[in-house]
Amino acid sequence: MNQTPTRPAPPMARQALEDRIAARLTSALTEYQASSMPADIDARLRFAHERALAAARLALAQRAPAPSVLGASGSAAVLGAAGGPSDAPWWLRLGSLVPFAVLLGGLLLIDNHYLRTQIDAAAEVDAAILVDDLPPEAYRDQGFVEYLKSSRP
């Protein structure tokens, strides 16, 4: 019985020994897993793998920038530029407001034209009444209005 008492290993050596054993243990786990993985689990993991890749492609497609609205000629791509609006120069960002200005101007022109047409129509009626033989007061007479209605063919 000639046993020498074991001296506790210094922390660095102890850590190194633990790391060495852990490396062998995990190597054994990897070996066991490779040799014992059931085929159905392998197949389901492959299926999950494919689903994950499909999800990644979909996510990337959804995050891709929208196609350019005015980019037919290439140089006029002011919306949906690849780098985003914040990367475009100021004059290009200002240029993106031009279509809205044109649209607003067009609406104002249409409204103005419609108003002028109404005014012209009212003026024509007024003029016709004023140059008629009947005085305008005649049209205020309810009996005369009824006479006009009943006398229409």
Binding site: I21, A28, Y32, A56
Partner: protein, 194 residues
């Protein structure tokens, strides 16, 4: 700071291929149900692909381990056994045996015969050893096993392991040390050397 390139389809595929089997095994150790483990791993892989595909490839391992840990915890929440799990965990932690005076060197086969050619009997014997190691890892307390597998099997560093587990680096070191000692002692008792 220069931006790292984003993960390509192939890089993501290669990464998933490199981790999916270990992820399954690690989850199966925890939930002890192969079907549930497969669901959790699939869920984690899809979450990674959907939300973090634009991250550089170097960031994927840590992100994936975090997602997997969260997905596993979500599974336990859904199973309404979270409280029971942590009660059991604390029981295990309190009863930990860190090996005491056990000499780790006793587990290592220092004869230098590890690389010799194996015959059929050796192969069977080797498989039994691997199975014993797998069983002992499965019997480790959950936190010790998580720390051990993340640190040494997934090869995360101590800080990354602590980040995934939500604990301090000191706790990771303690869990890993205890796990190695517990495994070494249990395997030595069974006559297993590495």
């Amino acid at each position: 700071m220069p931006l790292s390139p984003l993960a390509t389809d192939k890089e993501l595929s290669d990464f998933l291929k490199s981790v999916e089997k270990r992820a399954f095994k690690r989850t199966a150790y925890t939930v002890r149900n192969d079907d549930a483990a497969l669901d959790i791993v699939q869920d984690a892989m899809i979450r990674l692909a959907e939300k973090y595909v634009d991250r550089p490839p170097a960031e994927l391992p840590l992100i994936f381990q975090r997602i997997l840990s969260n997905a596993t915890m979500d599974w336990f929440r859904r199973q309404k056994v979270r409280n029971a799990l942590f009660v059991n965990l604390s029981d295990f932690e309190g009863a930990d045996d860190d090996g005491g005076d056990f000499d780790l060197l006793e587990l290592l086969d220092t004869s230098g015969n590890r690389t010799s050619t194996e015959n059929a009997a050796d192969s069977v014997s080797r498989m039994q050893v691997l199975k014993a190691i797998d069983a002992q890892v499965a019997q480790l307390p959950t936190r010790q096993r998580e720390a051990f597998l993340l640190r040494y099997w997934e090869e995360l560093d101590v800080a990354e392991t602590a980040s995934v587990m939500g604990c301090s680096e000191g706790s990771v070191k303690t869990h890993c040390s205890r796990a190695v000692h517990a495994l070494a002692k249990a395997l030595r008792t069974k006559g297993v050397t590495l």
